[in-house]
């Protein structure tokens, strides 16, 4: 089990690096587009779509890493005031509800990806980007997000992690 948790965490970290690199690439492409359009007065073909979809991709791929770092903002008022036991129950509930949503998103995302791939869907622009490329981050990123949730729940069960990262004595 340690191995599973370690592998999932490592995958999430890799996702974080990939996401940051895609973000950096998007910045460069935006600038290249500005130079083309406003300085060289040429029309741009692929840049707008590339940047839009890479930001979507970076978001979805980056989400497991952000979960690992507890970076998804939440309302932790109630957990903060509850005693440790109740906090534990709440953490399970919250994790399972979130996992259910992520699983649904992964599943439908995979379906969407498959349809786009099998049907040869492309975007409407002249660039005609195959949509399966744009959709791929949904099953990939959110799928890993599910795995990260499973790992988090396992850690919660075995006492490796405290619910909401709060120690038993942490009351305001």
């Amino acid at each position: 089990m340690d191995l599973f948790v370690a592998i999932v965490r490592r995958l999430s970290q890799i996702c974080g690096v990939v996401s940051a690199l895609v973000l950096a690439a998007a910045v460069l492409v935006v600038c290249q587009m500005v130079v083309m359009r406003y300085i060289l007065n040429e029309s741009t073909v692929w840049q707008t779509e590339f940047v839009t979809y890479s930001i979507v991709g970076a978001t979805l791929i980056g989400s497991p890493y952000v979960l690992l770092r507890r970076g998804h903002v939440n309302v932790d008022l109630l957990p903060l005031y509850l005693p440790h036991g109740a906090r534990m129950v709440l953490a399970y509930l919250a994790s399972f509800v979130a996992l259910a949503f992520c699983a649904a998103l992964t599943y439908t995302g995979a379906e969407l990806w498959y349809e786009a791939w099998a049907g040869g869907w492309t975007t409407d622009s002249i660039w005609r980007l195959p949509l399966w490329i744009a959709y791929a981050p949904i099953p990939l990123g959110v799928g890993l997000l599910c795995l990260q949730y499973v790992a988090d729940i396992l850690c919660l069960m075995t006492g490796r992690e405290m619910p909401f990262g709060l120690q038993p004595g942490d009351q305001p």
Binding site: G16, S19, A20, L23, A24, A26, V27, L28, V30, C31, M33, V34, R37, Y38, T48, V51, T52, Y53, I55, V56, A58, T59, G62, S63, Y65, V66, L67, R69, G71, H72, V73, N74, V75, D76, L77, L78, P79, L90, A91, L93, A94, S95, V97, A98, A100, F101, C102, A104, L105, Y107, T108, G109, E111, L112, A134, Y135, I138, F164, P172
Partner: protein
């Protein structure tokens, strides 16, 4: 159940689910999907991925990570410290100069980053210890930074304005201009209160401190002016309608990073290049968090409108036939309460599409309303239970108790409420500049 009743149930369930401490993005998504399945059957699951994806695949949204990156380039590098020091050196001689320069630094940083917690953290890290050392009361020092930080979402560029613009299909450039004067007005109100409070608290401004020499004042300028030039450039490009917000933000972000690398890496050699990862990583985390909420909100508003909740609420309020100012007061209270519990981006995404038709049909300007809504959100950022800025300050200065920070922040909340009242009496504060620059709204 009538759509209105469904709406009430969804509202209650959303509050309960989010209170569990679940990440807001996944909580919103789960509620949306749950209600779709209950009322429309399993077949409705098909649209989840597509709706989520389409909610994110907007070129205008690209500006969010870009502006976040622009702010992080300064906040996660020595540039933030220099910016702060420059203001201190130049405003040193002004009575109450330190607290004034802190609030001023917040508003300038707000013009760089578009995010309130980031503004708060960047200025607070330097400002709070400095103010305490020079004898300002704890509550005032922390309150001023907490409140000054909220300007991040009002003074352009502002992440919440981008989100408002996308979810209500209004012009982001125009929204930015609309926020400028109200932002400056709040800055002045904050400064006025800070001066008065410091004076009343027995703090006497002495001019006998060892001042800075002209040489010291000039020395720091080359490190700061380029960043200010970038802000000015980005705003000019935006307001002139020369480029879209995403393009301006992208170029601004790259220039800020290049500047940090050149000034601190190449020139001063005080900043190892590998720390560029910190900038990238910090902005990636912040943008992923915001964008996931945006994607989930797309699902949430899809559910609301496919169950006719959005339309019914608008109809119901339209049928109430109350005075438009009573309506505006009600909306303000509602937004304020939402802001107490949820971060601004989530509130705007969930409520703006419902509220905007109501507000415009009551004869209010959508850009003016964006400003009022944003100030409401700012108040929520420094009020418990979920005042993000309060916790940021608490993290920076753990030795100051939360109640002290709160008490210090309270007068600034009143200043913001005063700001809303002023905006209601003189709507021109928000509408004059956009009209003058971009021509009257249609």
């Amino acid at each position: 159940m009538s759509p209105l009743e469904i709406g009430v149930v969804i509202g209650i369930v959303t509050i309960v689910v989010l209170a569990s401490g679940i990440p807001i993005a996944f909580g919103l998504g789960a509620v949306a999907v749950g209600f779709l399945v209950i009322f429309d059957g399993w077949g409705s699951l098909d649209i989840i991925a597509d709706t989520f994806f389409s909610g994110l695949a907007e070129f205008a949204l690209v500006s969010i990570p870009m502006f976040v990156l622009m702010g992080a380039a300064v906040a996660s590098s020595p540039a933030g410290k220099d910016l702060y020091e420059a203001l201190d050196r130049w405003l040193h001689r002004v009575p109450g100069g330190l607290i004034i320069s802190n609030i001023g630094a917040c508003s300038i940083f707000a013009a760089l980053s578009g995010s309130s917690p980031a503004t708060c953290a960047a200025i607070g890290k330097m400002g709070i210890p400095e103010m305490r050392q020079r004898g300002y009361p704890d509550g005032l020092a922390t309150g001023a930074i907490a409140a000054g930080g909220t300007l991040g979402i009002l003074i352009p560029p502002s992440v919440t304005m981008i989100v408002y613009g996308i979810s209500t299909e209004t012009s982001i450039g125009r929204l930015f201009i609309a926020g400028l004067l109200p932002g400056l007005m709040l800055t002045v109100l904050f400064m006025a209160w800070a001066l008065f409070a410091a004076w009343r608290g027995g703090y006497r401004f002495s001019l006998t401190d060892a001042g800075y020499t002209l040489r010291q004042k000039l020395q720091i300028l080359p490190r700061v002016l380029p960043f200010l030039a970038i802000i000015a450039g980005v705003l000019y490009v935006l307001y002139g309608g020369i480029a879209t917000p995403s393009e301006a933000a992208g170029v601004g972000a790259l220039l800020c990073i290049v500047l940090v690398v050149v000034i601190y890496g190449l020139f001063l050699r005080s900043w190892p290049y590998r720390r560029i990862w910190e900038i990238l990583g910090d902005s990636m985390r912040e943008s992923v968090m915001i964008l996931m909420i945006i994607g989930a909100s797309a699902l949430f508003s899809y559910t609301l409108s496919s169950l006719f909740v959005t339309q019914s609420i608008a109809e119901w309020i339209g049928g109430l036939d109350v005075n438009r100012w009573v309506l505006m007061a009600m909306i303000n209270v509602f937004l304020l309460v939402c802001g107490f519990f949820l971060p601004p981006v989530a509130v705007i995404l969930m409520t703006a599409p419902i509220l905007l038709p109501i507000v415009t049909s009551a004869g209010f300007d959508p850009y003016w309303f964006a400003v009022v809504l944003t100030i409401n959100m700012e108040i929520g950022l420094i009020t418990p239970p979920v005042g993000l800025n309060l916790y940021v300050i608490n993290g920076i200065a753990p030795e100051i108790s939360l109640p002290t920070i709160l008490k210090g922040a309270l007068p600034f909340m009143l200043a913001m409420a005063l700001g809303i009242v002023l905006l209601c009496i003189f709507p021109e504060i928000a509408t004059w500049l956009p009209d003058a620059v971009m021509g009257p709204a249609i």
